[in-house]
C-alpha cells in the first residue's frame, strides 16, 4: 500500500468509518511506516485542538435583534403575499372574460340608448311629467354606477336632515303620493346596494401561558386594527405569595374592531393560545334598518307639510294643535336617527368577547424538584420550633402570672388546712 493512498484512510480511521478489513491493513501499515504514523499523530493532535475550541455564548441582544429582524421580514412577507395574490387574481381571470364583459356592456348601452330614443319619440311632447318619469326610470338601467352614486348622495343628504332635501322635493313639484314615494325608492336602492347590515360578534375562550404578554399582544392587535378595547379586567385565580411569577391569572377583554378586520382579528387572537370555546354570531338588521330609514323619510315629509300648515294656520287653537303634532314628529325623527346611528356603529365595529385563562404548561417540560427543598424543610423545622417555643412561653407566662395567686392560696390555704385538721383532731 502506498503512503499517498493511505491519507484518506487515516482520516476515516480516526472517525471509525473503516470496515474491519481496511482497518487491519491500516493498523499494520501504521506500525511499519514511521511517516504515516507521524501523520496520524499530528492529525489526531489537530482534531483534538479543534474539538477543544469552546462553544461561544450568544452575543448580547442576539435574540432581541433577531426578533426585530423577524418582524420586519414578516411585515415584508405579508405585503408581498398581498401583492402576489392580487396579481394572481388578475392573471386568473384571463382576457377573454374581460373582453366578453366589455362586449356585453357595449351591447347593453347601445340597446338602451336606442330604446330610449324610441320611447321619447312615442310620448306626447306636451306631457312634461311623463317624460320626466321615463327618464327617472330609465336612468338606473342605463348606468347602474351613476344611479348608485346618486342614491348615495341623496341618502347622505337626507340623513343629515338639511333643508336641501326639502328644496329638492319641493322643486320636483309632483303629486303628494309620488312625493312620498320618490325618496323612499332612492333610499331603498341605497340600502340594497350598500350590502347587508349585519351586527357581528364573537366570543373566544383561550387557555394561555404568560398572561401579561398575551394580554398585551391582544390589546396591541386590537389597537393596530383601528379598534378599541371597550372593557377589560384581570384577576388572580391562583395566587402564590412566595412566588408571584408562578401565580395564575384570569381575565376578559371586550374589544370593538372595524367590521372589515373582524375575521382576521378573530383568527389572530385564536393563534394566541389554546381555544377552548369559540362562537360567532351575526344579527341581520337590514330589514329593520331599511324600514326605519324609510319611516324617517316619511316623517320628514310629514314634518315639512306640518310646517306648511303652520304657516297657513291663524287661530291659536290650530297653531297649538299643529305644534303638538310637529313636536311628536320631530321627536320620532330624532329617536329613529339615533337608532340608525347606533346601528351604524354596531355594524361598523364588531364586538369580540375574549376570556383568558392562564395555565401552567404541564406538557412542556418535566418540573425539576424545586432546588430549594432543603431551604423549605429548614423553614418548616424552624417554624415548628418557634411554635413550640411560643407555646412554652405562653405556658411560662401563664404560670408566672398566676404565681401571686398561688402564693396567696398557699399563705391562706395552709393555715386553714392546718386549722381544719386541728378541729378534726379535737373532735
Amino acid at each position: 500500500m502506498k503512503c499517498n493512498d493511505i491519507q484518506e484512510q487515516i482520516s476515516l480511521y480516526i472517525d471509525n468509518m473503516l470496515d474491519d478489513n481496511d482497518k487491519e491493513i491500516l493498523i499494520k501499515h501504521l506500525e511499519e511506516c514511521n511517516q504515516c504514523s507521524a501523520e496520524y499523530d499530528s492529525l489526531i493532535a489537530m482534531i483534538n485542538m479543534c474539538r477543544e475550541l469552546p462553544m461561544l455564548e450568544l452575543p448580547e441582544n442576539y435574540e432581541i435583534g433577531l426578533n426585530n429582524k423577524l418582524k420586519t421580514a414578516e411585515a415584508e412577507n405579508e405585503e408581498k403575499v398581498q401583492i402576489t395574490t392580487i396579481v394572481e387574481k388578475i392573471k386568473q381571470k384571463n382576457w377573454k372574460v374581460y373582453a366578453s364583459i366589455a362586449a356585453v356592456f357595449i351591447v347593453f348601452v347601445i340597446s338602451v340608448t336606442g330604446l330610449n330614443s324610441v320611447k321619447t319619440n312615442e310620448i306626447d311632447p306636451g306631457s312634461e311629467i311623463a317624460h320626466d318619469n321615463a327618464i327617472i326610470y330609465e336612468q338606473p338601467t342605463a348606468s347602474p354606477e351613476e344611479s348608485r352614486s346618486d342614491g348615495n348622495m341623496q341618502f347622505s343628504k337626507s340623513s343629515q336632515d338639511s333643508p336641501v332635501v326639502e328644496n329638492e322635493i319641493v322643486g320636483r313639484g309632483l303629486e303628494p303620493s309620488s312625493d312620498m314615494m320618490a325618496p323612499v325608492d332612492a333610499v331603498e336602492s341605497q340600502v340594497i346596494t350598500d350590502g347587508r347590515k349585519v351586527i357581528k360578534n364573537a366570543f373566544l375562550s383561550l387557555d394561555i401561558e404568560n398572561y401579561d404578554e398575551k394580554f398585551e399582544k391582544i390589546i396591541n392587535l386590537v389597537n393596530a386594527s383601528g379598534g378599541y378595547v371597550e372593557h377589560s379586567d384581570t384577576q388572580y385565580s391562583h395566587y402564590v405569595p412566595d412566588k408571584p411569577e408562578e401565580s395564575l391569572k384570569i381575565g376578559s377583554i371586550t374589544a370593538r374592531v372595524p367590521e372589515n378586520t373582524f375575521l382576521s382579528i378573530v383568527d389572530q387572537v385564536k393563534g394566541v393560545g389554546i381555544v377552548t370555546n369559540f362562537g360567532m354570531g351575526g344579527q341581520d338588521i337590514t330589514m329593520q334598518y331599511r324600514d326605519t330609514v324609510n319611516e324617517v323619510e316619511n316623517l320628514k315629509i310629514q314634518e315639512k307639510r306640518l310646517r306648511e300648515i303652520m304657516e297657513k294656520a291663524d287661530n291659536v287653537k290650530d297653531i297649538l294643535e299643529v305644534e303638538r303634532e310637529l313636536s311628536r314628529v320631530r321627536g320620532d325623527i330624532n329617536r329613529m336617527t339615533g337608532d340608525i346611528k347606533r346601528w351604524d356603529d354596531l355594524v361598523g365595529l364588531s364586538t369580540i368577547n375574549i376570556s383568558l385563562n392562564e395555565i401552567i404548561p404541564k406538557d412542556k417540560k418535566i418540573e425539576p424538584v424545586s432546588d430549594n427543598i432543603w431551604e423549605k424543610a429548614g423553614k418548616g423545622f424552624i417554624r415548628t420550633i418557634n411554635e413550640m417555643v411560643s407555646m412554652l412561653e405562653v405556658a411560662f407566662v401563664g404560670f408566672v402570672s398566676i404565681l401571686p395567686l398561688l402564693l396567696l392560696m398557699l399563705v391562706i390555704g395552709t393555715p386553714t388546712i392546718l386549722f381544719i385538721k386541728k378541729l378534726r383532731r379535737r373532735q
Binding site: 482520516s11 492529525l43 393563534g271
Partner: protein, 199 residues
Amino acid sequence: MNDREKSLIEECKQGDIESFELLIKDHQQMAFNIAYRMLGNIEDARDASQDAFIKIFKNIKNFKGDSSFSTWMYRIVSNTCLDELRKKKKHHNYSYDNPIKTEDGEMSRNIPTVENTPEEIINRKESQKLIQNALNKLSDQNKAVIVLRDIKGFSYEQIGEILNCPEGTVKSRISRARVALKTILVKDMELFNNDYVKI
C-alpha cells in the same frame, strides 16, 4: 422529529414568530457558533446566523419534512455562511500584513503585537487562536467540513445532508480538508518558532 416540533413548524407556516423563536431556541447557539467558526468574527457570525434564521422563517413553508428539521436548518446556516464568504472575497479584504505600496517600492506594515508574549503562546487560548487563524486561511469548502466534523462533531451522514452531497464525497473532502488544515498549522507553527522561540 417529535410532535412538539411538528406542531411548532405548522404554526410557523402560518407566520407565527413566537413559535418560530421557540423552535430555534435550542439551535441558536449552535448556528451562531458554526457561523463564527466559518466567518472568523463575532459580528459577521451574528449577522449571518440571523440572516439564516430569517431565510429559514421565510422558507419554512417549503420544508417538507423529509430530513430532520435541524439538519435542514444547518444546511441553510452553512449555505448562508458560504455565500457570505464569497461576498467577502469580492470586497477584497486586505490582510493586516499586506505590504503598503509606495513610490519607492513596497513597505511592510509593522504592526505591534501585544498578545504574543511567550507565556501566552503556551496558553491554551493561543492554540485556539492558532486554529481559528488557520481555519480562516482554508478554502470555503474545506472550512465548512472541518467546522461541521471536527469542531461541531456532526456525523458523516448529517454533513452529507447539510452540504447536499453523497457520503463518499464527504469522506474525501474531510480527509483533504484535514490535510490542508494541518499543512497550514505546521507552517504557522514554524513562523512562531522562528519569531519567538529562538530567543
